[in-house]
Amino acid sequence: MHLFTSNSRFLLGIAFSWFGLFVLYNVLVTVFPLEQLPRFPNAKDSWKANFERYSGAEHTRILFTGSSLTNAVPKSYLPSESFALGLSGGDTATAVALAGLRSSPPNIVIVEVNILDREIDKKFVESMNDRNRHLTVRFPAFRTYNQPIVYFKEIFTEEARNIARDHISFACGTPHDRPEWAKARSKTVEGLTRVWEKSTMVHNAKVLKQHVDALIERGVDVYLVRFPVHPDIHKVSYYKQVVDVSENIFPSSKYNWIIVNNNELAWYDGIHLEPSSAYRVISRIGNEIVKNSGTPPWDFSISCGSH
């Protein structure tokens, strides 16, 4: 009997071909890593990619956690040794739970408390646990941000790098409201003006509190922040309820709140900050934390003077 039939040679050929491509691709993405995180058409892919980057960024001292509001802050606006785990379409509790998955959490975690109607995605958090992603941890080719389509798209179009370059040039500009943003803002106001189930918000805030408390217990300095929103949003029931619930669940006597004023800011849609405003808000958060904790000033790569 022949040990290798044409069948088995064919199968072995496929296996070798797969192995060769796999090794080559791992080498490629390791030698030429993407500088910026590419955009993903799917929210969960974007979360995964963001978390994979965070879990690989060992020297993270400051971590911003939140929803798309946090994600809207360009990476280049963050101080050195910091990371933004913003989950577009998601909630802060998921981001904080993800932050806690690392064996050595960051020294400072800033928690965005603007959205409380969304539930924690426990299934997603569980799937990101190291024991469920052995292959992703070991082989870069398995990481979401290295998926061939997004990787080559980024290499050929340099889309994310161009956007980042634009952001750097926008950072020190003067924020001003554009007329076309008014339409998006009125849509946001319309979307948030309805009766919200307060009990859902209370429940979600309590879940967030559990994860925040877990981080505090591990010696992390946690700061809660409500990202500034357009004055029109202050009037809607959703925002009022978020303020009410969050202040009850996280009393300022027990938790560090950072109050960021909304002077000279502009928003695409009333809640998501445009770039130069995002830069100002991050600087103000940094100033407040430095002032409260007495730690050295944050080291920003962009310098626009005082905001």
Binding site: S6, N7, S8, F10, L11, G13, I14, A15, F16, S17, W18, G20, L21, F22, Y25, R39, P41, N42, K44, D45, A141, F142, N146, Q147, P148, I149, K153, T157, E159
Partner: protein, 469 residues
């Protein structure tokens, strides 16, 4: 119940590790029956008795029909019973009245039955049961069905034919006279491993890499339908993208089913034959979901008279068969409209099939016909994509005219990625159409690449579109 999962891999691996051992040769069918029931039970354990009873009854009815009472009334009762089961479970969800509220006001078994979810694969296993009892009644299949004289073995084989797990939940619909003769002891040396692995790898690639990644973009169709976002170009592009997605999804699934069945020595029918090169709607239906169209032709169109009862009756038969075929997919009017749309298309093109437009062999005319049919089919997918008819109308609204200042949902990078994902569908049609042969080394590289992409570029969703039927 999922084909691309560790559980499924373990099930297939476990069965294969014992299946070909000489000591288990006589137990091969039992092993596959147990494996199939485990497979189904992991998805819907509480509906396993329904499947078991349906499959056993079909076997017993087939035995009665072929052995003793080759009686039309018994046949009619059998077919009607299976159609009733299908109708009950599938169409109780038609929103004519609130089933849940009604059920809650009742007691006893009816309440229990009304509250049961749609059994997975019911459309497929009831059709196979019908095929079994109809074939048992037909004299032309007597040789095949009489080859097994033992009642117990016959019923066991029939049971196995209906529950065989690779094709249980979404086909291909196998006809009894094609499957039953295949039930015999299997030997590993007879398995074409090369063909089975090529089929499985292609299936994984089409399903997980192409369909699941395209799904990310076609989700925008919901935004168009529900919120009116996007513009006419988005709506048109996404319709064509959905054509590629649904083909890759169902074609990929079918390849997996065929490949896994081949590992156990069974041949399932081909379900697709590069459908998007069809030059007429009738040709499309000879290439798309072949097992369903052939089932409808054999068990519905011909019994209704086919094309033997004059032109008008032929058109009517086509429309009725296609409308019922549409309704088979689900309890929603839009599925019926999808079938009707195709039925009317078939009836309208029929008188012109011998005209210059359909017979000309000029390349430009061939291209024109192919594009016309592809556009027709893609347009019809709107009804398929949106079970709610209001959504269909909203989508059509955007497709016909969108607000001039409405921002597009797809940017140039999205279009580039969509193009890259649809490219293999185009290449596959092209290669098969021109019967292009590749040498072995090149084939190995292609299958290696497909497997590599399956491991690193799987799409975020994993639901099979046809599992809902």
């Amino acid at each position: 119940v999922h084909f691309i999962s560790l559980n499924y891999l373990v099930l297939v691996g476990l069965l294969l590790s014992f299946y070909y051992l000489p000591v288990f040769r006589r137990a091969q069918v039992y092993m596959l029956i147990v494996g199939s029931l485990v497979f189904y039970g992991t998805g819907q354990l509480h509906l396993l008795p329904l499947l078991t009873v349906a499959a056993l009854s079909a076997g017993m009815l087939a035995w009665a029909l072929k052995s003793h009472i080759r009686h039309s009334i018994l046949l009619a009762i059998g077919v009607a019973s299976y159609l009733s089961i299908l109708a009950f479970f599938k169409y109780k969800f038609i929103p004519i009245f609130d089933v849940e509220n009604y059920a809650n006001s009742l007691d006893g078994p009816l309440r229990f039955m009304l509250l049961l979810p749609l059994p997975i694969g019911i459309s497929f296993y009831t059709f196979q049961s019908i095929s079994l009892i109809v074939d048992s009644h037909k004299k032309k299949y007597a040789n095949i069905l009489n080859s097994e004289p033992n009642r117990f073995v016959f019923i066991k084989n029939c049971f196995f034919y209906i529950v065989f797990f690779p094709q249980l939940v979404a086909g291909p619909i196998v006809k009894a006279h094609d499957f039953l003769p295949q039930i015999k002891p299997k030997y590993f040396s007879d398995v074409n491993l090369r063909l089975a692995s090529q089929t499985i790898i292609s299936g994984l690639f089409f399903k997980s890499v192409i369909a699941d990644n395209l799904n990310v973009y076609t989700l925008n169709m919901e935004q168009i339908a529900s919120k009116g976002n996007g513009n006419t170009l988005d709506a048109a592009v996404l319709l064509f993208v959905y054509s590629a997605q649904i083909y890759s999804d169902f074609f990929g699934y079918t390849l997996l089913a065929i490949g896994v069945a081949a590992l156990f020595g069974y041949r399932l029918p081909e379900n697709f034959n590069i459908p998007y090169i069809a030059q007429s709607i009738s040709e499309f239906w000879r290439r798309w979901h072949i097992s369903l169209s052939s089932f409808l032709r054999e068990y519905l169109y011909y019994p209704l008279g086919g094309n033997r009862l004059g032109e008008i009756r032929t058109y009517l038969n086509l429309i009725v068969v296609m409308a019922l075929g549409g309704l088979w997919h689900g309890a929603a009017m839009s599925y019926m409209f999808w079938g009707l749309f195709h039925g009317i298309g078939l009836a309208l093109e029929r008188p012109f099939l011998k005209s210059f437009f359909f017979r000309s062999q000029y390349p430009l005319m061939i291209l024109l016909r192919t594009l016309t049919v592809f556009s027709f089919v893609s347009f019809a997918w709107i009804f398929f994509r949106f079970p709610e008819f209001d959504d269909v109308l909203s989508y059509l609204g955007v497709l016909i005219s969108s607000a001039p200042d409405e921002r597009g949902l797809l940017n140039s990078v999205d279009l580039f990625i969509i193009g890259a994902l649809c490219f293999p569908v185009f290449v596959q049609h092209f290669f098969v159409k021109f019967e292009m042969e590749l040498n072995t080394t090149f084939q190995i590289m292609i299958y290696g690449t497909m497997l590599f992409l399956f491991t690193v570029q799987r799409g975020p969703t994993d639901a099979f579109i046809y599992f809902q039927f």
